[in-house]
């Protein structure tokens, strides 16, 4: 018999002591695990399954884009500046032949070198430009890239193009990758911190609890976004990792509150006392015995946090405190849109807003469905 002593006693506690060995396999066949029951409930919820499908589509696309399978060349200039979506048709058909965008004022198209010659000046950047030209293989002006030799740019594009002629569809896809990955990573970090602190505070009580409660009081006294701004001001270097850290380190309070309450409730339950009786260590009781029993709370919180952090990342990046300039996220895309609107181009705003609203709604509905499936007693 290679079974550890504790397990025999546990199974004896669970079942009647006499038939324990006989009954056990039968029970295992009929009794479903909590996750199987929850999955069954979720499957019967059409709204939940529908939103799960949408979230899954987003996640698959994001993984594909992170692996470089799609949207890899999102920053290639496919089309003319602000090319309209294909289904809208093009008003720029005539200009397609000479490749010069009519939306640019004439002064700007002239600027490609001719002005400098007019004044008899040497362009100090000419060597650099020549080097760039030899790299790209054609001798157009790489800075403006609108001279006649440029490969023909499309006048229309699926969902349109941005100021630089990049595909909005690919750009929003790439932005989704950044925003959602930041949201998920920050949610994992925040949920982890909240769970560990909540477990310690709830399980140990006493001065440990008092100390962590004090920390909680301090963090909740400062409005969340203000705290995030303060940290963003202090950390000078921008980056995806920094923003994950900021959001994760500040966003743990909600999870902590719930997990602490759960641990307070569970630590006096009989199964935990039984675990103590068979000599399970504190750490084992906290994380092997109690943790699986509160995991449904953690899962729901995690799902909710992802939505919150996606929204927070969008606002931070919009303000310029989030992702660096060479990374595209939903926030940095939205940052471009007020000026585009004034010029009369709304496709980027629409596409990005729609993608964001779809994911956020689906995620929120999935969270509700998860909550219903995992804990039917809750409303």
């Amino acid at each position: 018999m290679g079974r550890p002593k504790g397990e025999i006693i546990m199974s004896a506690l669970r079942h009647s002591p006499v038939h324990s060995k006989h009954i056990e396999p039968v029970k295992r066949d009929t009794a479903k695990s909590l996750s199987a029951i929850a999955w069954g409930r979720l499957r019967r919820n059409p709204v939940g399954m529908f939103s799960l499908g949408i979230v899954a589509v987003f996640l698959i696309a994001i993984v594909a884009s992170a692996l470089g399978l799609i949207a890899q060349d999102w920053d290639r200039q496919y089309a003319l500046s602000f090319a309209p979506p294909t289904f809208m048709g093009s008003s720029q058909e005539t200009s397609q032949e000479d490749g010069v965008s009519p939306s640019l004022p004439p002064a700007l198209t002239q600027a490609s070198g001719t002005q400098l010659e007019m004044y008899g000046l040497q362009d100090p950047l000419q060597p650099v430009l020549d080097q760039l030209n030899s790299h790209t293989g054609h001798d157009s002006d790489p800075l403006i890239g609108l001279s006649a030799e440029t490969p023909m740019r499309a006048a229309t594009l699926f969902l349109g193009a941005d100021k630089w002629g990049r595909s909005i569809a690919l750009k929003v896809m790439k932005g989704a990758e950044t925003s959602v990955l930041v949201g998920i990573a920050a949610a994992l970090l925040a949920t982890f911190i909240g769970t560990v602190l909540g477990a310690f505070a709830g399980y140990w009580g006493g001065w440990v609890d008092a100390l962590i409660e004090w920390l909680y009081g301090v963090f909740t006294a400062i409005p969340y976004l203000l705290l995030v701004f303060a940290i963003a001001a202090v950390l000078q270097q921008k980056g995806v990792f920094t923003i994950i850290l900021i959001l994760g380190l500040t966003g743990w309070t909600g999870v902590y509150r719930l997990i602490r309450a759960e641990y307070l409730k569970h630590k006096v339950r009989e199964y935990v006392l039984a675990a103590e009786a068979i000599g399970a260590s504190h750490a084992r009781r906290m994380f092997v015995h109690i943790l699986p029993n509160v995991s449904h709370v953690i899962l729901v919180q995690l799902s909710q946090q992802v939505v919150n952090f996606i929204k927070a990342e969008v606002i931070l990046s919009f303000l310029g405190f989030g992702v660096p300039v060479d990374v595209v996220s939903w926030g940095s895309i939205l940052n471009e849109t007020p000026n585009e609107l004034i010029l009369g181009y709304g496709w980027q705003l629409m596409t990005c807003g729609l993608a964001m609203a779809t994911l956020v709604t689906a995620f929120a509905m999935l969270t509700d469905a998860l909550r219903d499936a995992l804990d039917p007693r809750l409303k």
């Binding site: 301090v218 001001a233 202090v234 705003l349 709604t361 509905m365």
Partner: protein, 311 residues
């Protein structure tokens, strides 16, 4: 009552000390040496040493903490690094516009939210209720950034009904400038408010006293507006009071888009300019306001519902 008040005020001290410590560690320890930021790109060691002495950052950390503590207690945070304006003056002058924007917004949100919540809770599970739930879900899913961007573009730029940007502190021009930001703020906040207040109202409608009131033959109007509303107002008042300090910061996007010289916009600008004294002052002050308003919310709770025992 007085004993309770004193106890609560005493309990605030460790939390406030914690906030001060957190802000201090963030800016004086994590943040690194501000002298390099202030001295600019063309500096020499002498300048940097001078700046360090002026700011007191050449002192050990605990003395710096003492300086910061004194700043908090005397509400004198020194001068702004970027404008050389006294920080307390910045804070006090920016408070007015923020409140002039937020107070009408909060009052309207509460009145409209409660009215709609009462109405839909009364016809609960009807198609009106369900379609409103659906509408609020959809409304909440759209980023507030998009509300503001599109609202400002459409109502101010395209239709020209309102000025695109600007602010006046009082009078007719205040109305002219404030209406659009307030409406857009309402558009963002009304959906979650309705949902929250609806659950409060529904909770009360299931109580026995409602059945008793109906059994007495009271009109539905009276049952809803006197009996239910009065009891539902308890959690509503606490929510509204508790949300007030957070709103000061929450309206930063409105303030930024419409160039309203309020607290939120000041924070954003201070972060952009690395103006640490301003951020420190606003963070600590808003945290204090949050704690005070939480206490006020608890007191209001007892005032509305005398059954609640303060302990």
């Amino acid at each position: 009552m007085a004993a309770y008040l004193i106890k609560r005020l005493l309990q605030m001290i460790p939390t406030l000390l914690g906030v001060i410590l957190l802000v201090f560690l963030l800016f004086n320890w994590v943040g690194g040496d501000p002298a390099y930021v202030l001295a600019g790109k063309f500096s020499n060691p002498q300048d940097i040493a001078n700046i360090r002495r002026q700011l007191g950052v050449d002192q050990p950390l605990f003395i710096q903490f003492g300086i910061f503590l004194r700043q908090v207690l005397t509400f004198d945070y020194g001068l702004s690094w970027s404008t050389q304006e006294p920080v307390s003056h910045i804070f006090l002058t920016r408070l007015g516009p923020s409140i002039a924007l937020l107070l009408p917004m909060l009052i309207l949100e509460t009145l409209i939210g409660v009215a709609i919540a009462l109405a839909v809770a009364y016809v609960r599970d009807s198609w009106i209720d369900r379609s409103l739930t659906l509408t609020t879900t959809a409304a909440m899913s759209i980023s507030l950034l998009i509300y503001i961007i599109v609202g400002q573009y459409f109502f101010a730029f395209v239709l020209g009904w309102f000025p695109v940007q600007g602010w006046a502190n009082h009078g007719e021009s205040w109305v002219r400038y404030a209406v659009l930001p307030i409406l857009l703020g309402l558009a963002v906040s009304i959906a979650p408010a309705i949902r929250l207040y609806r659950t409060f109202v529904l909770e009360e409608m299931g109580q026995d006293y409602v059945r008793t009131a109906r059994a007495k033959g009271l009109s539905e109007m009276r049952v809803m507006l006197v009996h239910v509303l009065r009891n539902a107002s308890i959690p509503i008042i606490t929510t509204v009071l508790g949300s007030l300090p957070g709103l000061l910061i929450g309206a930063f996007l409105l303030e930024r888009f419409f160039s309203i010289p309020g607290i939120g916009r000041e924070v954003i600008m201070a972060v952009e300019r690395s103006d640490f004294p301003v951020i420190k002052a606003i963070t600590v002050s808003v945290a204090m306001a949050t704690m005070v308003f939480n206490l006020l919310a608890d007191l209001a709770y007892q005032w509305v519902d005398p059954r609640v025992k303060l302990s």
